[in-house]
């Protein structure tokens, strides 16, 4: 595995890591719950075909400054600034889970800046009949069972590497959940429903069949709310963080859609 190049950009005066790998048209990637404590297999697969750029949102591993972002407008502008700084002012955008909620909002608020949009198990809506799970009311070691079909995948992805300061590593993982809570608390509803109709980009709605956090039926609500061409796909053997459970199938579906 070749791994990414790394640089740091400033958002609101705070450092945010940008990982980049591959050649070709830029492809932006906003990660899901927990962020990217390490370079994940799905990005390695995508980087074989595209120039993948994965900036870290404030508070997620590699990024700081979540505690200055109070309102959803603050988060949206920070996301916009981060994308611009990372070289993603325009182009294709992929968002997973919490990153999916923000990617959808970017496409809604700046509709001409997103060419194609792919959302993987995105937060952002709430349906009382089929409520989004409370991912923040989980003992830390249980989170994997909720976000992945195979909890071992999440455990391996978030395990401290050899030689890491275990205390600081755990604080980084907790901070990532805090940043997600700051965006999503308490229901995961970012009031995206009011803005979905502004999205113009062709959109792929990709869901893990076993998503126990945002039920796959939410794909219909996303599609119904948009005035854009949408495709829906569900992937077997994948949970909420489908990209961790099934990196090959997710990469394949994304590449097939994005071209």
């Amino acid at each position: 595995m070749s791994g990414p190049s790394e640089r740091t950009v400033q958002v609101n005066g705070q450092p945010c890591r940008v990982w980049e790998a591959g050649e070709g048209e830029p492809l932006g990637f906003l990660a899901g719950l927990g962020g990217l404590p390490q370079w994940p297999p799905v990005l390695e697969r995508l980087a074989a075909h595209r120039r993948v750029i994965a900036p870290s949102l404030p508070g997620f591993p590699g990024g700081l400054g979540h505690d200055a972002l109070d309102s959803h407008l603050d988060w949206l502008l920070a996301t916009r600034d981060l994308l611009n700084e990372a070289g993603l002012a325009e182009g294709d955008l992929v968002g997973v889970s919490v990153g999916g909620a923000l990617a959808a909002d970017v496409a809604a608020v700046w509709p001409h800046k997103v060419r194609k949009l792919a959302l993987v198990g995105p937060f952002g809506l709430f349906d009382a009949e089929r409520p989004v799970a409370d991912v923040f009311a989980q003992p830390p070691r249980k989170l994997g069972e909720v976000v992945c079909a195979d909890p071992g995948r999440f455990a391996a992805f978030t395990e401290p590497p050899e030689g890491a300061d275990v205390t600081e590593w755990e604080i980084v993982q907790t901070r990532a959940m805090e940043a997600a809570a700051r965006i999503l608390w308490p229901l995961g509803d970012t009031r995206l429903a009011r803005r979905l109709g502004r999205i113009r980009a062709d959109t792929l709605l990709l869901w893990g069949e076993d998503d126990r956090v945002v039920p796959p039926a939410y794909a219909q609500a996303f599609a119904a709310g948009m005035n854009a061409s949408t495709q829906m796909r569900t992937l077997p053997g994948a949970g909420h963080l489908a990209d961790l459970d099934q990196p090959d199938a997710v990469a394949e579906a994304l590449l097939a859609f994005l071209g």
């Binding site: 109070d70 923040f136 205390t167 755990e170 907790t174 901070r175 805090e178 809570a181 608390w185 308490p186």
Partner: protein, 421 residues
């Protein structure tokens, strides 16, 4: 030393198989378990007990705030405090307290506390807890990542509202008000004493020291477990150059008094086991929403857990005791004859250096008769043995300063009503 009577108002009829059949006493507790007609009886018994304690001569009666909680039936402690303000005459009224970030706008707290201070003639102690994660983040939907910043801002707003003599505009990070103008104003000027109930975070200790507030450690796990926390508190006070005035601190302790230790063990076993087995059956998934605990405290906690695992303090990682023998062994509840209890509490107050002892004399499913028996025995035969402690050396600068008794109003006999009876 101040001896304060604390009531949690637990629901006393949780079923025997509560722990087996219900995941949590808090947040998502089964609403079907609450029988309003039994609730009527319980509230009235508990208020009798608080009024009786004041009548027996306790220095204060204390109430606190919990939400969606089977062991704490006071979502609004101010309602109870308001009644106590009318039904008691001399005891301080300690509201321990109002979770500032939950009130919108937070000036609601400034208003209600000012009302309580007025009604009681200046007997209020104003407690400002952050609030537990169960109460604030889950039951009340507050974002754990912004809770503390909201709490500190709400505190600043309330204090400014009490101490500013004219209307002002408040342009905060979370609160904007064009006209802040608290009416009524508190009797105690510039404001009632401020007490901060807390866990064991260094930041809270430092803040209490800086603001000159009382730090009250409200643990359910007694003086043995409390020792390390209070040691940490006093070490931090020393580091900050503050004196060891025991009235800087408050501490909560369960107590059961009887004629003999054997009798006390027989009387208080059931209510204690009820409390630790049923009332503290809290689903751990609600204990740690991300962001509730600051990163500095997390670091300290991880480090202390490492120290504990290394054998420095093995007793505290064994998990909570639920059997009577363990409850006594670990000091969650102090029981005995009046002399034994007095001797033990003297040690506790001296060792922990705590001038405000908050006593839980009703706990678990203890009924009114036993609660009053415990309260009376304590007041008559324990309290006198402890009341002078610390007072030759230290002044309690954090106690209410009420109006002179002769100037205070009292409920008056009603004139004959004009009805037909």
């Amino acid at each position: 030393m101040k001896q304060m009577f604390f009531h949690l108002m637990p629901y006393t009829e949780l079923p025997d198989d509560f722990r087996a059949r219900h995941p949590s006493v808090w947040v998502d507790i089964d609403a079907g378990l609450f029988d309003p007609r039994r609730g009527h009886a319980m509230y009235n018994e508990f208020m009798d007990e608080l009024e009786f304690a004041a009548d027996c001569g306790f220095d204060a009666v204390c109430v606190n705030e919990h939400h969606s909680n089977g062991y704490g039936l006071m979502p609004s402690p101010n309602l109870i405090a308001s009644s106590l303000a009318r039904r008691t005459t001399d005891a301080a009224i300690c509201v321990m307290g109002n979770s500032l970030a939950l009130y919108n706008p937070p000036t609601r707290v400034a208003e209600e506390f000012a009302m309580l201070d007025c009604i009681s003639g200046g007997r209020l102690i104003a407690g400002f807890p952050v609030g537990t994660p169960m109460d604030t983040c889950f039951a009340y939907g507050q974002n754990p990542s912004t809770l503390r910043a909201r709490y500190y801002e709400a505190h600043d707003l309330v204090m400014k509202a009490w101490t500013t003599p004219e209307p002002f505009a408040f342009d905060g990070r979370f609160n904007q008000q064009r006209y802040v103008n608290v009416w009524p104003r508190p009797i105690q000027q510039p404001h009632p004493p401020i007490w901060i109930p807390g866990g064991g975070s260094v930041e809270t200790w430092q803040w209490c020291a800086r603001m000159d507030y009382v730090y009250a450690y409200l643990s359910y796990f007694g003086y043995k477990a409390g020792q390390s926390t209070m040691q940490g508190f006093w070490d931090e006070m020393a580091r900050l150059g503050k004196d060891r005035n025991p009235y800087r601190a408050g501490f909560l302790q369960f107590v059961g008094v009887a004629e003999t230790r054997a009798e006390a063990e027989a009387l208080y076993r059931e209510p204690a086991e009820y409390f630790y087995d049923r009332c503290l059956n809290v689903d751990p998934r609600f204990a740690g929403p991300p962001g509730y605990t600051t990163e500095a405290t997390l670091r300290a906690k991880v480090q202390s857990q490492v120290a504990q695992a290394a054998g420095v303090n093995r007793s505290s990682i064994k998990g909570m005791a639920r059997t009577w023998e363990d409850i006594l062994e670990r000091g969650y509840v102090i029981v005995g004859s009046p002399d034994e209890v007095a001797e033990r509490l003297r040690e506790v107050a001296t060792d922990l250096n705590v001038g405000h002892l908050m006593l839980l004399l009703q706990f678990g499913n203890m009924g009114r008769d036993l609660a009053m028996h415990n309260t009376r025995l304590f007041a008559e035969r324990v309290m006198p043995q402890l009341s002078g402690l610390f007072d030759d050396q230290w002044e309690d600068r954090w106690w209410p300063r009420p109006m002179p008794a002769a100037d205070r109003a009292a409920p008056q006999p009603l004139p004959q009503a004009g009805g037909t009876r």
